[in-house]
Symmetry: C2
Subunit: 326 residues, 2 copies
């Protein structure tokens, strides 16, 4: 059996360009560029909570990095360095040749796409837990924050919402998709695309941004709370895929779109005067960018976030996915 | 029940001084000082592997940060920022008022001692897993690495070795300590002191360094492997506590000293010409610093690390603690 040290050497120690001292010491040493600040975030994926026991390790490696990239996207940061703490069950350690090589392949391919360096981490045995810390660079004083939304801002989202949540409902057998539909939605669930370039390009255009991981309502809610604003969004304007369009008459589809989570699209607010620039940016990136509502004044005793459908307020039972409210 | 968001706000969001943007956004923003490089490391503590189910949450909060501080010490870095990813079982979430407040207290007290800022992380539910990433500053080009040991270097260790391992054997009922002895050794096990200041002061004096987390032989072995050197150490010179001295005739004591792990002392190598300076430093820090051997030439077909006792080589069954070799 490989030791922890050998395991890291074999599966997670690929050549780095941008690192003073990489894997193999007590810590890595990096040298950020002059004039930059660093954006740092950490996210864990836990078996039974974020993925099933039998999850495809290649996709898991990809997704665990993608969800962290998404945090960098939401800050407008250039992702640069990452650490990986893996807790692995004995079963996986015993079969590590296949599981670990697939996991590291998915992780590595995505890392190399963005030229991100894996600079450290550790592996221990225990219930599967994937904990990642990512570090990116932002120009000093420029980043996308949650707390900058201004009165009258357009509220935008990228891509299409709800497909990942629909795939999860299909996998849990709460909803039936046909094979083609399932294939499409599962790719949104298991291999999400972080909007890294969009985030970087929104610096200077957007007043606030967040990535949609817990569901549109919950995440837009964070922008509103931090910005001390309210918002009205129009359900019919929320961009959805061709698959989702077929099910728009069902309440499950509406729930997926508004509160589903795992979208990893960006929700951002921008002044109306930047509308054309944002539209051009979307065209350049070949990514749908859609206005779904407007930032309004916060009033006491009314909800911060109002969703309108056919001139009526939509009432939802839960306000997006929260890991601790079930 | 508190949501994840409230939980972080309540227990882990204390005022920061040194951070551009702290907890509450998609990522934190930090501004490293000019002319520094950053040392980054990540370590996880897993229930059943690093601590028992019923571990005191205050001590656990303390220790989980201490072991990460120890990595900074081993690099000669000034620890500055930390992220914390907590996976918590439902039982703890339901009782979070006590468990979380104690855990965060232990973590926070140690963080404040070193003026370290908690800048991010997340909490999810699942088997208890504490994953910490720490970031420190080193002067550009100056840090303590594992790969710098030179022929003829003295091999030094700080403090006393083996007490934590002895406490663990006592807790597992493989060894019987009296109450006073147990109290003393348990404090080494559950509230280790990272040698942060020592590490910083060794920059420029030591050629290589590592912290002893997996046991003296395994960790000194890492220095030798990375430096492509060998070493001879003298068992009788390894510094041990008054408690350990009482048991030196037992093989369990020898095993604890050489391979026990969880010491979080520093093992470092330094040129003989720096001997007086190291001795002075130890006196200034009121910390025992002891020469235990010498770096030698690497030869093929002989072990890299030889332990001598009464002019005989010590043969040990295992080479320190490895998380994957049991």
């Amino acid at each position: 059996m490989l030791s922890e040290f050998d395991l890291i050497q074999r599966y997670f120690n690929w050549p780095t360009e941008n690192v003073v001292l990489g894997i193999g010491d007590d810590a890595a040493i990096i040298a950020p560029m002059k004039g930059v600040e660093l954006a740092i975030s950490a996210d864990s994926l836990v078996v039974g909570r974020h993925f099933f026991d039998n999850a495809d390790p290649y996709k898991l490696g990809f997704k665990s990095l993608a969800v962290n990239l998404s945090d960098m996207a939401a800050m407008g940061a250039i992702p640069k360095w990452v650490t990986l703490s893996l807790t692995l069950p004995q079963l996986i350690i015993d079969q590590h040749e296949s599981w670990l090589s697939e996991f590291s392949k998915g992780f590595r391919e995505l890392a190399q796409t963005y030229r991100i360096e894996l600079i450290g981490g550790d592996t221990v045995s225990g219930p599967l837990n994937i904990s990642i810390q990512i570090i990116g660079e932002v120009e000093k004083g420029y980043c996308l924050r949650r707390d900058g939304a201004q009165l009258g801002d357009d509220i935008w989202v990228s891509g299409y919402l709800g497909d990942a949540a629909l795939a999860l409902k299909h996998e849990l057998r709460n909803f039936k998709l046909n094979d083609n539909e399932a294939f499409y939605c599962k790719s949104a669930l298991h291999m999400p695309i972080a909007r890294v370039e969009l985030g970087q390009r929104l610096v200077g255009l957007a007043n606030s941004a967040i990535d949609i991981s817990d569901g549109l309502m919950a995440d837009l809610g964070h922008i509103l709370a931090r910005s001390e604003k309210a918002a009205t969004i129009e359900l019919s304007t929320i961009p959805v895929s061709e698959v989702m369009k077929r099910y728009l008459s069902t309440s499950i589809a509406i729930e997926c779109i508004l509160t589903g989570g795992d979208d990893y699209e960006l929700c951002f607010t921008a002044p109306k005067m930047n509308r054309d620039a944002v539209i051009l940016l979307g065209r350049e990136l070949q990514l749908p960018l859609t206005i779904i509502g407007e930032i309004t004044q916060q009033k006491s005793q009314t909800p911060n976030l109002v969703v309108i459908n056919n001139n009526k307020k939509v009432i939802l039972e839960k306000n997006g996915y929260d890991h601790f409210v079930t």
